[in-house]
Symmetry: C2
Subunit: 325 residues, 2 copies
């Protein structure tokens, strides 16, 4: 799907997305946490996408894609595959436009995230947890329903939508030295790169990637996209495979990646809950973990950290001793 | 202590406190949560004091009291009794001024709150969990050290400091219909009443009090302060006995109280965590619970809800099925 024949969005597409989603998306707050600044030895501005509608930045891209459909396309609904946040975001965006939404979910997805997808009236289609099975099932649903595919991170409209988070962050805080974002398939990262390159070329955009799913780091080192790997990480939102357009944007814009092990991510997550008082998911906490892991790289700087989402199952928090009993 | 010979602060004291604590305290954000608005059928502005230094509004009053001391008083340090947040707030304020702090803590106080007190170098003094034992131990420490007593909620400087939260809220959102605050000893409630009466007399100030510790409601109904009762509530910050100056301010300003049972508070707490993505303590969630409990009273209105604090023990959350195993 779009793998070898993709279109790349431009910053103008990010600006258009910003206007298109404005009636529906929140301008999320940028939170400061003094005690976390002291720990990290830098000034962190937390762009709080866990306070976005649907509890994650994913609503930006999904909403932009759904609102970009012409009436004839929209009439047949949308379909995607997603382990969680993108599925719920697309379901919400489709619900707001009053069109059908089909979500292909791999076995093993978090129950709380499936619940969120269903809460917005989307139809769930289960499949095996492999890329091939997801693609096959999505094509099957497309063939049956005529629904329009909105890929979770390679879709140009999705990438442009995700870029609006960095757009708001850089508008609120134009004097940043760096922006750190979680990296899974690369939608948020590539959208942020587009925005920073156009709006604040001096701002480095740095990805935080699970050490157990670091195919983006490997791809950049090797100079070609690595697609064969078995992810092993608690960051359920970051297990996807780096997309082709995402990789292309990363190469063009000198993207840097920090690999973070799960233990460091869980420590950062606990700090965000306990001191920051923010309910964030592991796939979000990893960006703060990257800043803590490489203190000298960020020392004394002003660092934007995008908290990408806060959808967790409260009854099964992985850092609680009780949850492991 | 000050029970029969108290002084009442004025709104000018709140304004002075605001200027005095400005270099140290945060102007906390006012958060909006669309899905909670829909549930409550009104527009809620959450004044987020769990994002205050020390994780609770208590820093406002403690900081104002410590900074109000003349150098001779300050030299001998401060003492208080507190089950948690006020103790930690006073310890932090004393640490910032570089003076000693003694905190008398009743048996049964939350371990995480004691840890926070000790993290700011205060000296802990343990006592039995009764008002009499707390008073006796505090007097003993005073006699031994010459430390200046800063009562957690009857102290006029503390009440004035707590009034600055409503001052910021009404400055950010002058068009509120009501402000709902948790009620324990009455420090936050009486400070909020002072501020609203001066700044926005049309705004009702309403207290949310645990049904199992509803001596404020009983006191207002009876027309005299009820001090004999045994609190039974999970809201560990709201077990204190309504103070005399606090009661006096409540009577003067037509304070209203809603009694909320613990089950409703826990439901509201879970909503604030799960949908609002905010780590709040039960003693804070009660204010949102009161709005949910009396939907018709607030329907269609603009309601300020002060989230008073977010200091919980993550490993022992009372709403988790695991925590009760």
């Amino acid at each position: 799907m779009l793998e070898n024949n993709f279109s790349l969005p431009s910053f103008a597409d990010v600006q258009a997305a910003s206007a298109r989603i404005a009636p529906h998306a929140c301008i999320t707050p940028v939170l400061r946490m003094r005690s976390l600044d002291r720990l990290a030895q830098c000034t962190i501005l937390f762009k709080s996408e866990h306070l976005q509608r649907g509890g994650a930045f994913k609503f930006r891209g999904a909403c932009n894609a759904v609102l970009s459909l012409d009436p004839e396309q929209a009439r047949r609904g949308v379909v995607t595959h997603s382990s969680g946040n993108h599925g719920a975001a697309l379901a919400l965006a489709a619900q707001l436009r009053g069109i059908a939404c089909h979500v292909v979910v791999p076995e093993g997805a978090l129950a709380s995230k499936l619940k969120a997808i269903q809460a917005h009236d989307a139809v769930l289609h289960h499949c095996a947890p492999t890329i091939a099975a997801r693609d096959a099932k999505a094509r099957e649903v497309q063939a049956q329903t005529g629904a329009h595919l909105v890929h979770p991170y390679t879709d140009a409209r999705v990438i442009a939508g995700q870029g609006t988070a960095a757009l708001e962050l850089l508008t609120a805080a134009p004097d940043l030295d760096a922006i750190v974002v979680p990296v899974g398939g690369g939608g948020l990262a590539s959208g942020s790169l587009l925005t920073a390159a156009a709006l604040a070329p001096g701002v480095r955009v740095i990805g935080a990637e699970p050490a157990g799913a670091a195919e983006t780091l490997a791809s950049l080192q090797r100079g070609e996209r690595v697609t064969e790997f078995t992810p092993s990480t608690i960051c359920d939102g970051l297990r996807g495979t780096l997309g082709a357009p995402n990789f292309e944007l990363m190469r063009r814009h000198a993207f840097e990646v920090i690999a973070v092990d799960d233990a460091a991510t869980l420590t950062a997550m606990r700090l965000l809950w306990e001191r920051g008082k923010q309910v964030v998911e592991p796939s979000s906490a990893i960006a703060f973990a990257a800043v803590l892991a490489e203190r000298e790289r960020f020392a004394g700087q002003r660092v934007g950290v995008i908290i990408s989402g806060g959808n967790v199952d409260l009854d099964a928090m992985p850092w609680s001793p009780r949850a492991t009993q």
